[in-house]
Subunit: 340 residues, 6 copies
Amino acid sequence: MPRVITFGEIMLRLSPEGYNRFVQADRFCATFGGGEANVAVSLANFGIDSAFVTKLPKHEIGQMALNSLRRFGVDTSCIVRGGDRLGIYFLEKGASQRGSLCIYDRAGSSIAEAIPEDFDWDRIFEGADWFHFTGITPALGPNVAEICLIACRTAKEKGLTVSCDLNYRSKLWTREQAGKTMSELCKYVNICIANEEDAFDVFGIKAEGSDVNMGILDREGYKSVARQLLERFSLKAAAITLRTSYSASDNGWAAMIYDGNDCYFSKEYRIHIVDRVGGGDSFCGGLIYGLISGWETQKSLEFAVAASCLKQTIEGDFNMVSVGEVTKLMGGDASGRVQR
Amino acid sequence: MPRVITFGEIMLRLSPEGYNRFVQADRFCATFGGGEANVAVSLANFGIDSAFVTKLPKHEIGQMALNSLRRFGVDTSCIVRGGDRLGIYFLEKGASQRGSLCIYDRAGSSIAEAIPEDFDWDRIFEGADWFHFTGITPALGPNVAEICLIACRTAKEKGLTVSCDLNYRSKLWTREQAGKTMSELCKYVNICIANEEDAFDVFGIKAEGSDVNMGILDREGYKSVARQLLERFSLKAAAITLRTSYSASDNGWAAMIYDGNDCYFSKEYRIHIVDRVGGGDSFCGGLIYGLISGWETQKSLEFAVAASCLKQTIEGDFNMVSVGEVTKLMGGDASGRVQR
Amino acid sequence: MPRVITFGEIMLRLSPEGYNRFVQADRFCATFGGGEANVAVSLANFGIDSAFVTKLPKHEIGQMALNSLRRFGVDTSCIVRGGDRLGIYFLEKGASQRGSLCIYDRAGSSIAEAIPEDFDWDRIFEGADWFHFTGITPALGPNVAEICLIACRTAKEKGLTVSCDLNYRSKLWTREQAGKTMSELCKYVNICIANEEDAFDVFGIKAEGSDVNMGILDREGYKSVARQLLERFSLKAAAITLRTSYSASDNGWAAMIYDGNDCYFSKEYRIHIVDRVGGGDSFCGGLIYGLISGWETQKSLEFAVAASCLKQTIEGDFNMVSVGEVTKLMGGDASGRVQR
Amino acid sequence: MPRVITFGEIMLRLSPEGYNRFVQADRFCATFGGGEANVAVSLANFGIDSAFVTKLPKHEIGQMALNSLRRFGVDTSCIVRGGDRLGIYFLEKGASQRGSLCIYDRAGSSIAEAIPEDFDWDRIFEGADWFHFTGITPALGPNVAEICLIACRTAKEKGLTVSCDLNYRSKLWTREQAGKTMSELCKYVNICIANEEDAFDVFGIKAEGSDVNMGILDREGYKSVARQLLERFSLKAAAITLRTSYSASDNGWAAMIYDGNDCYFSKEYRIHIVDRVGGGDSFCGGLIYGLISGWETQKSLEFAVAASCLKQTIEGDFNMVSVGEVTKLMGGDASGRVQR
Amino acid sequence: MPRVITFGEIMLRLSPEGYNRFVQADRFCATFGGGEANVAVSLANFGIDSAFVTKLPKHEIGQMALNSLRRFGVDTSCIVRGGDRLGIYFLEKGASQRGSLCIYDRAGSSIAEAIPEDFDWDRIFEGADWFHFTGITPALGPNVAEICLIACRTAKEKGLTVSCDLNYRSKLWTREQAGKTMSELCKYVNICIANEEDAFDVFGIKAEGSDVNMGILDREGYKSVARQLLERFSLKAAAITLRTSYSASDNGWAAMIYDGNDCYFSKEYRIHIVDRVGGGDSFCGGLIYGLISGWETQKSLEFAVAASCLKQTIEGDFNMVSVGEVTKLMGGDASGRVQR
Amino acid sequence: MPRVITFGEIMLRLSPEGYNRFVQADRFCATFGGGEANVAVSLANFGIDSAFVTKLPKHEIGQMALNSLRRFGVDTSCIVRGGDRLGIYFLEKGASQRGSLCIYDRAGSSIAEAIPEDFDWDRIFEGADWFHFTGITPALGPNVAEICLIACRTAKEKGLTVSCDLNYRSKLWTREQAGKTMSELCKYVNICIANEEDAFDVFGIKAEGSDVNMGILDREGYKSVARQLLERFSLKAAAITLRTSYSASDNGWAAMIYDGNDCYFSKEYRIHIVDRVGGGDSFCGGLIYGLISGWETQKSLEFAVAASCLKQTIEGDFNMVSVGEVTKLMGGDASGRVQR
C-alpha cells in the first residue's frame, strides 16, 4: 500500500446548525478540517496509508483534532504535541444568493508557532511515496515556510513525489510574499494544483493573449496557464479546478490537467451543494489516488472530479467516500438512486 | 367507512440527521416504516378505517413501532405480539449526485419468524373491504409466503378486493423465487402495482417489440407491460409508477394505469426531494383511496400521484397528508404558497 | 442617525425543525416575529435608530419577545407591559409542491386588547423621523385601529414620514372592514407598500383595462394599480412586491415602485428559499432605509429587493443582514461564493 | 376489560430543553398534558380501556394533541372537534432551590368554550364503568361546569363510579367559586382525591383541633380532613397525596386514604425528580387501577404511590409505566438496577 | 435608577452538551461570559442601568458577544470595536467525582490588545454611580492593567464607588505580579470581594494565628482575613464567598462580609449544581445591588448569597433571575415548588 | 509500551436522549460498546498499546463501530470484516427509583457467527503481553466459545497474562452452560474479575458458612468467595467489584482483590450516576493497567476503582479518562472542583 504524507494545519471548525447565521446561533457543530488534513482523510478513506503531520496543543481540544483524524484511519503517529492553541475557523453556510461566511481565528496556533526542530523529516518520510502540502502551510509564517522547505528538500532527496495545491489566502500573506516563497518551494514540486485564480494571485500567470486575470477562461486559456506553470517549475503536471458559482446552492464543477503533452478536461457536474468547503482538497485527494495507483491521466482526473463532486454533497471538510462510490459516479451513474 | 387491511413488516428506521453520512453520525432519527404499514398510515390519514397486521416483539421497541401506527389512527388491534426482534433499516439520505444508502437488518424479525397459526384471517377480515400486501412480505420467508397465501385465499372467499405492489427486493430473494411465489399469489389479486422494473424482475415481462428490460419506455411500452400483467393474472387493473431520477435531490414523478380497456397517464411532477422513501407506498395508498371511494380511474390515478408527490416532500416513510391537501395539488396548485 | 418608529404585534413563532410537519414534530424552534417588528429589526441591523412599539404581557414569555428585539439593537423602551398573553403563530415550512402552513393563535393578545391610553404618542415620536405600520395592526381590533389612527395623526402633526404595508389578512377582518379602516388611515400615509393582491383585497383596485383581480399582471397593469393608489390617497409613492411561486422551494422575487412620475422595476431574483416569511417586511425595511438615506428611487428599490432576497435565505422572520451585504448583492454579486 | 372515561382539557406543553430558563430558550419541547388526559394515559398504559373526552380545534395543533393520546392507546373517538384554539402551558423546569415556573395560556380554548350540546353523555358512557374528572375542568368556565354536572348526573344514573381530584387552581377561580361549584359536583362523587392543600382551599376543611390550614400535618390531622370530606359528601373514600418539597430536585412522596373505617398510609419515597408535573394525576391513575381491579385498599394505595413515584422520574405529563414496573417497585425493589 | 459600569473581557464559551466530555463532543453550546460581563447582566436583570465596557472585534463573532449582552438589557454603547479576536473558553461540565474542565484560549483578544486611548473614561463614567472590575482584567496584560488604573483613578475623581473581585487566575499571572498590580489598584477600591483562596494568592494574607493558607477556616479566621484586607487598603468592606465542594454535583455555598465594625455570615445553601461557573460573579452582582439600593449589610449579603445560589441552578455564565426570585429565596422558600 | 489484546463483541448502542423512555423517544444517541471493547478503549486512553479483536460486517454500520475504536487510538488492524450484522443494544437510562432498561438485539451478529478460521491467534498475539476477555464472549455461541478456547491456549503458550471478567448474562446462556464452558476457559486464566453475583451464577461458589447466594456480604464473605475462585482455577488473583444501588441515580462503588495471600479492600465512592454501563469494564481496564505497570496490588486496586468511579460520571460505555485524572481522584481529590 502506498504511503502518503501531508503536512499542514488542522483547525476546529465551528458552524451554526443548518442555514443559521452566526448572529442567530446558540450552538456550533464542531468538526475539524484544513487543506492537507482533508487530503489525508480522503486518501485514508480510499485505503491509502495516509499520515498527517502537524503540531497540536496537548490539551483536550488538540486531542479532539487528533481523534478526528484517527477516526478515519489517518496515521497520527507523526503529530507533534505542544504549543498553546488549536486554530479555529467559524463557518456560516450560505444559501442561494447569500454566500458562506468564513472567519479565521488561527493566529498563534501550535503549528503556526512550530520550529524546524519539531519535525524529523527523515523519520517521517521513511517508507513514504508521496508528499503533499498546500500554499496555506508556508503562509502561516516564516518558520513554517522554512519547515516546509526542509520537508520538500528531504522529500526530494528520498525520492518522493511532491504535490502542492497553491491555495492562495490573502488574509495570511500578500501576493508578493506568496510569490516569493512559493517559487522557492515549487522547485521541489512535481504536481501543482490550483483553482482558477491561484496561478495569477501567486505567480502573476495570466492566459496568453488575454489581458484579464484568471476567472472564467476558455479551454485555451486554461491550457496556457497550465503550460506556463509547467515551464516555470519543471512540473510533471498542473491541474486546475473549474468552479462556476451560480449561487451558494448550485455550482458547476469540473477540472483540467496538463501533463506537458496533452491537456485533459473532465466532465462537468452541476452540484446542488450541501457543503462546498474542502472541494479543492478532495480533488487533490482524488488526483493523488489516481496517479499513485498508476492510472492514466484522464481517468485520474475524472476520479478526482467525481470524488470532489461527492464531497460537496457531504457536511464538513472531510470527504467520506469510498473508491467504489467515486468509481460509480465516474461511470456515469449520477441519478442518486437509493442503494439498497 | 370502508375498511382496509394491510399485512407486512414494519421496521425501525434509523437515519442520521440531515444529510450526514453514517460514518459521521452520532445520533439517529428513529422512525418506523415498511411497505404495507406506510399504506395503512396513508389510508388512516385519508380517513379510512385502516388496520395493519403484523407480528411485533413484546418489548419496548416493538411497542414503539405499534405506537407509531396508533398515533396516526391505524387500528393495531390485529397485531400479534411475540418473537424476538423488530426488523431495522438504516437509511442515509443522499443529495445531488450522492445516492441514498439503505442497509437492511431485518433477518430474524418477529414477522419473518411468524407461523400461519399466529393469524386468524377470518376474524381479521371481518367487516373489511380491501386487502393490500406487497412483494416484500412473501419474500421474508416461506412461512410468511404461506401466511400471505392463506390471507389472499381468505380475502377472496370473503369478497375483499386484493391489491399487491410487486416491490421486488433482490436482497430478500431471487427473481426465480419471486416469480414462482408471486405467480401463485397474484391469482388472488385484483389490482397490481409496480414500478418501472418490477414487472420484469418478478415475471420477466418486457414491453412487446422491445428487447430491453424495463427502465424508461415510451407510453406504448408501459401499456404493453400493463396489458401483459392483466392477461397473465386476470387483474382488473395494473398501475406503474414512473420515476425519473435526475439526481438524489430532483426527481420526475408520474404514473400510468391500465384497466383492460384504456390506458391513463398522469400529470408529471418535478419534485425537489425531501425524502423519497415510501413514494411508491403512498401511491398505493392514494390509488386504493380513489378506487375504494368509487372515483373514476383517471381521477384515482391523479390523486395517487399527487399524494405520492407530496409524500416525497415529507420526512420519514409515512405520508402525513389529508385528502384536502392532495386534492388541492391535483387541482393544479403546486405553487407551494403559505396556507395562512 | 435617523429614528424610525414601528408599531404592531410581535408574536412567538413556533416551527417544527427542518421540514417536519406539525403532526410529526416533538419540538418547536421558538423565534419571534410580526410585520412591524420585522421591519424594526431590519432597520436596526442597517444601523438605524429603530424603536418598536407594542404591548407585551409581563411574564417571561413576553420578556422573551422583548429580549429578541433588544438582541438586535431595537429600542424597546417604548414597549408597554401588561395584558394577558403573547400572540402565537405556528409555522410549518413547506417544500417543493407542499406549501407552508401557518396557524395563528393571536386572539386576546396584550396588544390586541390594548387601549389608546396605553400609548403616549407625543412622547414616542419625540425625535423620530419616520413611522411605519402595516394593515395587520388595525385589523387586530377596533381599539387597535383607533390607536393606529391616533398614531398616524400624531405622526403627521409632528412631521414624520408615514409608511404603510397594506398586508391584507382575511382571517382578521373582511375586505369591507379593511377597506373602510385602511381608507381612513391611508390619508396620513406617504408611502404605501403592497403585494400583488393587497390593493384589490383592501381597496378593490384593479388594473385598468383588465377585468381580472391582481395576480400576475404585465408592467402596465402594476403601474395602473400603483397610480390609482397614489391618486386615491395622495401618496408620494406606492411600491408593489412581485413574487412568482414556482414551488415552496423556488420563487421569483422582484418589485416595482411608482412615484407619481416614473415607474421603476427592479431586477428579479430566482431564490432557492430557506424561509420566505418576512419577505415583504424586509422589503419595507430596505425601502425605508434607502428613502430615509436620501437615495434615488431606483437605488432604494434595488436595495429593498436585494435585502428581501437575502431575507428569504435566512431562517426566521428577522432579516439579519448588513448594509454591506445588501449592497454587494445589489452590485451584482449573486454567486454565493465563500466570504473568507 | 373495564372502561374508564375521563373528561377535561389537554394542553400543548412547551418546555425549554433541560434546565434552561425561558429567557435563554430558543426551542421548546412540545408535549401534551392535562389532569384528566394524564389519568387517561396512565390507565391505557395499565391496559385499561381508557377514553378521554374533550373538545379540540380542527387544525393541526389540535390534531397533534389527539395523536399524542392515540399513541398511547387512549380511545379518542369521543373527542369533539371544533372551536378556535388549544390551550397552552409553558413549563420551565426548576432545579435545587429554583422552583419550576408554569405560565398558563389557556383562555379561549375549544374546551373552555364548549357548550353542553357538544357532548352526548349517554353515548359516551355506554359500556363504561368509571368516570373521572378534576377540579380544573369546572374551573374552565360556567359552561364547562355545567357540562361537568351533566356528565356527573348521567354517570350516576348509569351506575358508574365517579372519582374527582380536587386540584384547586387559584388562577382559574376563587375559593368561593370553587367551593360552590365543587360542592354541587361532589354530590355525585364516590372517590375524592386531594393534595395537602386542596381540601382547605376548596371546602375550607381544616384538621380538627388545628387552627392552621393544611400543609404538613400529622397522621391524625390528615385523617381528620379525610373524614370530614367523607362526611360532607357521602364519599366511599378520600385520598390525600403527601409531598415534601426539600428542593426542586428532591421530594418526599407518599399518600393516605380513608375509607370510612380505616385510614391507610403508604410507604414514603424519596425521589430525585426528573419531572414532577403530573405526579398527582398518576396517583389518581394508579388508585383507579387498583380499585377497579378490585384490590384491597392498602394495595391500591401502594400501587398508586409507586406509580406516581415512577412518573416523577419521567419527562412530560404522561406516566409511561406498565403494571409490571409499578408492581416491582411496590414489591420493594427501588434499587434502580439495570433491567437486562 | 443607579448606573453601574463594569469593565473587562467577555468570551465565547463553548461547552459540550449535557455531561459530555470534550473528546466525545461533536457540537458545542455557544454562550458568552466573563467576570465583569456576568456582573453586568446580573445587575441589568435586577433592573439596574448597567453598562459593560470592553473591546470586541468587528466581525460577527464579536457581534454575537455584544448581542448576548443587549439581549438582557445591558448598555453596550461604550463597547469599542476593533482588534483581531474574541477570547474563547472551553468548558466541560463535571459530575460527581469528575471535576469541570476549563481550557482558556484568550490570548490576543481585542481587549487584551487594547490600548489606553481606546477608552474615554470621563465620558464612560458620566452619570454613573459605581464601577466594578475583577482581578482578571489587569491580568490580561500590562496595557489592560494600565487602562484599569486609569479607570479606577477617574472613577475615584468622579466620586463613584469602586468594587473589585480579586479573582486570582494563576494561568494569567504569577502571585508576585498579581500582588504588585492589585495593590496599586486596590488603593481606589471601596468594596473588595474574594473567594476563600484569593486573599492569600494575591496579597499573601493569612488568618492570624494560623499557619495554613486559606481554604476552610473557622469564622474567626475569615474575619481575620477580611480585617487585614480592610486595613491594608482602607476599604469600606470586604466580602468572602465560602464554597464547600462535596463533589462536582453538590456544593455548600455561603459568604461573609466585614464592614470594619461587624462581621456578618450568611445562611448556607446546599446546592445541587446545574452550572457553578459565574457563582462568584453573581454574588458580586447581588452585593452591589443590595449596597447600591441602600440596604443594610446583612440583608445585602443574604441577597447576594441567595442570588448566587440561584445562579448555580442555571446554565451558562449569566445569572438570569429577578429581584423577586432572589427575595423569595432569601425569605426562606427553598422548596423549589412549581410557581403556577 | 505493553500491548494488550481484548477479544469480544462490540455493539451499536442506541439510547434515547437524556432520561427519555423508549416509548417517548424519536431519536437515539448512537454510541458503541461491549465488555472487551470498553476495556480496550480504557487502556488506549491510559496510553497502552491496545488492540481489539472481533468480526464486523463490511457495511457502513460495521465501519462506524470500527471508527469508534480508532477514534480513541485502539488498534483495529486485527479486526476481521464479514458476516451479516452488527449486534445492537437499546439502553434506556433510569433515574431515581426507575431502573435502566436494556434490550439486546445481538443474535446473528458477525462475531456470533464467526468461525475459528477467521482468527489467526499466533499473528494476533505477536508482541502482546496480556489477553483479556469476558464471560459474554463464549456465551455468544459454541463457535465463539471454541475461538475463545483457542485464543486462551495460544495466549498461554506465548506467555501472555490472561484475565477474564466472568460477566454472567442469563439471556445468553444457562448457569449450567456457563459453568461448564467457563470452567474450561478459566484453566488458562491468571486474573479473574467478577461482580458480587457472578461467582455464584457461573460456578455456584458461595461464601463459606453462609447459605445465601452472593449479594451483599461482609468482608469475610467476599474473601471466602475469592479464595475459592483462586483454589479452583489456580489463579494469581481474583477481584470482586462491590456495587450498592441506592437508586438508579446514586450508587456506592468499591472493590476487593485477593492475591492468595492478602485480601485488599478499596475505598468506597458514593457516585451520583451519569451512566453506570461499563462500570465493571472500566474496573478491568484500570486493574490491568495497574498490574501491567507493575504496581502493588493495593495501588492497582485503588486505581481500578477510581477509574471506574469516573467512568460512571461519563456518558456512553467507554471510559474516557487519563491516568492523570484517575491518579488525582485516587489521591483523594473528589471535590469535583473546576480544573482551570
